[in-house]
């Protein structure tokens, strides 16, 4: 009896983590693309995700559009927004040696977005309640939330799309080349600004995807974004920078660490996650899922 119970408990903890983790993973992939090409940590990623979430919320609230329909429209829109953010804010400073500058611009953007959202839409937490929000199904004796499963599927799909983009298209190959070596890439005729812009656009598009799924599953408020950025960074560190599949796996691992520690050490789960993060940074900075040792 006890064995059965604990087994189910472990199962539920794992499933919860596995279902929520990919959200971090998608945010982490966006960060990874931007870091890969520009060598900056785009701290505003979380605020961008929350902005995407608000778009889905208002589309649902005012126009009655289902969040997953919004997703289809929001993805191209955020692709454009990403390109615009790069052109307006980061193009001038992309080549500077001092990375503080771009980091601070991202910080300024976070401040602006957070307070714009909080002034325009009040700091009250919001959530989307559709006909299927409370739906869940039973699998192997465990209740699994419907919206979480959809979120999981979307995250996997987004990862696949990005992987295909990076492997199969010329633009994607250019992004990989710049991540590998900026100087050599420009020597063979790759325009750095264009590649940076593409990486930014894809990164923000992923934020839009994550935002829609988040709003359909969880409650959002204007200040939730910073925490999301940090979680995405942890997922990224776990998976290894510049490794798309690894970022997703890192997200899943982070989700599992969180759900497990939230059960066993209530309230401490964030501290546990950051401790794992610090240990990984110190002892395996190349990430947990990289076999070959690449110098970072």
């Amino acid at each position: 009896m006890f064995e059965d119970l604990s087994l189910r408990l472990v199962g539920e903890l794992v499933v919860n983590g596995v279902l929520f983790g990919p959200m971090y993973g998608v945010a982490a992939i966006g960060l990874s693309l931007i870091f890969g090409t520009m060598r900056i940590i785009f701290l505003a990623q979380g605020a961008m995700i929350v902005l995407g979430g608000y778009c889905a919320y208002w589309a649902f609230k005012l126009l009655g559009v289902d969040p997953y329909v919004t997703l289809v429209l929001l993805t191209p829109a955020s692709l454009l927004a990403g390109a615009l953010v790069y052109q307006l804010l980061f193009r001038r400073v992309a080549a500077l040696e001092d990375k503080n500058v771009s980091l601070l611009i991202a910080v300024g953007l976070t401040f602006m977005l957070e307070s714009l959202m909080s002034v325009a839409w009040t700091p009250d937490p919001r959530s989307i309640t559709t006909g299927y929000t409370a739906t869940s199904f039973v699998l192997g004796g465990m209740r699994i939330s419907f919206t979480r499963s959809i979120g999981f599927a979307i995250a996997i799909a987004a990862t696949l799309v990005v992987t295909l983009f990076l492997r199969r298209t010329l633009a994607g190959k250019a992004v990989r080349a710049v991540s590998e070596n900026m100087v050599s890439a420009s020597l063979v005729g790759i325009a750095p600004h264009r590649v940076n812009m593409i990486a930014f656009a894809v990164g923000i598009a992923l934020a839009g995807v994550a935002g829609c799924t988040l709003a359909a599953t969880y409650t959002i408020d204007p200040y939730f974004g910073f925490l999301l950025s940090l979680k995405a960074l942890i997922a990224l560190a776990l998976g290894g920078l510049g490794n798309v599949g690894g970022a997703l796996a890192g997200g899943v691992l982070l989700g599992m660490v969180e759900s497990t520690s939230a059960y066993f050490l209530p309230g401490w789960s964030d501290a546990v996650a950051y401790t794992v993060f610090l240990l990984v940074l110190m002892f395996r900075p190349q990430g947990l899922f990289v076999r070959s040792l690449r110098k970072v």
Binding site: L103, L230, D270
Partner: protein, 315 residues
């Protein structure tokens, strides 16, 4: 300007600031509070300046040390000195700095020996989050998410805060000045320019990095202690706020990172901007501040003082 007259001008300026509280009505004005805030910002910014500007290690944990300092002051004041004799106890302030510096050394050894660049920045950010959780879950010692209140009974005027703040700001700036002209400063700058070359020239890279990191933590901790005496309550939301890391960075970068007077100038300008925005646009203030950060970074990424200083060959 020759060095002698520069010293004289600085001394005169400090004297003028020290006499401000005697102007009738001054201690009740908003300007007085603004100057106090500037001093707190100078102390914490000089700490970051030492770590990032001189040693080249981008730390994102200044708010953690600020918070540790504030909490140390609050805990000491409410437990050891609960009989009311605590008001502006200099030992409490010193203890805040020392405890923060100890934490900095403790976390600095593993982080600085293993991580560099962005990874170090991320690691310090992670440390700050761990401190936040530890303070929220600290039970009766830290007062959970509400924090600790200190008795505000002895408070009469902001004057002592002002003078202590001025003294600390002057000491912090003088310390950075002294360090920048000493062998220690030379070692720090060598590490910033090229850690490998510094190590090859006999600089104990880890030791000096940790020293700078601990000194930066010390300054942030003392600033936290002073600020705790001003607000009479410490809480994770107010003291572990990331603004206490971001504002100093902004002030250093804007004024000129890695210069002695850059953070001072940055603190005066940025605090004025934030205070003005706070008065006239209370709800929209962070929008304005965020936009300002972006504009400054886009059009003045090297700060006001940097260009001049490099031309003179003094940093």
């Amino acid at each position: 300007m020759p060095r002698r007259s520069l010293y004289a001008a600085a001394a005169l300026l400090v004297l003028v600031f020290a006499l401000v509280p005697f102007v009738p009505g001054a201690p009740d004005s908003y300007l007085f509070f603004y100057l106090f805030l500037v001093f707190v910002h100078i102390v914490i910014s000089q700490g970051w300046n030492l770590v990032a500007g001189y040693t080249g290690q981008i730390s994102l944990a200044q708010h953690a040390f600020f918070g540790i300092g504030g909490y140390t002051t609050a805990v000491v004041s409410t437990t050891l000195l609960a009989d009311g004799s605590y008001y502006f106890n200099p030992w409490t302030l010193l203890a805040s700095g020392v405890v923060a510096a100890l934490f900095a050394a403790l976390i600095g050894v593993p982080l600085l020996s293993k991580l560099a660049g962005d990874y170090f920045a991320l690691g310090t950010l992670g440390f700050g989050e761990i401190v936040r959780v530890a303070l929220v879950k600290g039970g009766s010692v830290t007062g959970g998410s509400f924090g600790i209140s200190i008795s505000s009974e002895p408070f009469d005027t902001l004057r002592p805060h002002y003078w202590v703040g001025l003294l600390l700001a002057v000491l912090a700036t003088a310390a950075v000045y002294a360090i920048s002209r000493s062998r220690l400063g030379l070692a720090l700058m060598a590490i910033r320019e090229d850690p490998l070359a510094a190590a090859a020239s006999g600089v104990d890279v880890l030791l000096f990095k940790v020293l700078a990191f601990a000194a930066g933590g010390f300054m942030a901790g003392i600033a936290g202690g002073l600020y705790a005496f001003y607000v009479f309550a410490v809480s994770p939301g107010g003291f572990l706020n990331l603004n206490w890391t971001l504002y100093p960075i902004l002030m250093c970068v804007m004024g000129g990172n890695g210069t002695v007077l850059g953070p001072v100038l940055g603190a005066f300008v940025m605090t004025a901007v934030f205070s003005a925005a706070n008065v006239w646009l209370p709800t929209a203030h962070p929008i304005f501040s965020g936009a300002l950060i972006i504009l400054v970074m886009l059009f003045m990424p090297n700060g006001i003082l940097k260009a001049q200083d490099t031309r003179q060959g003094v940093r």
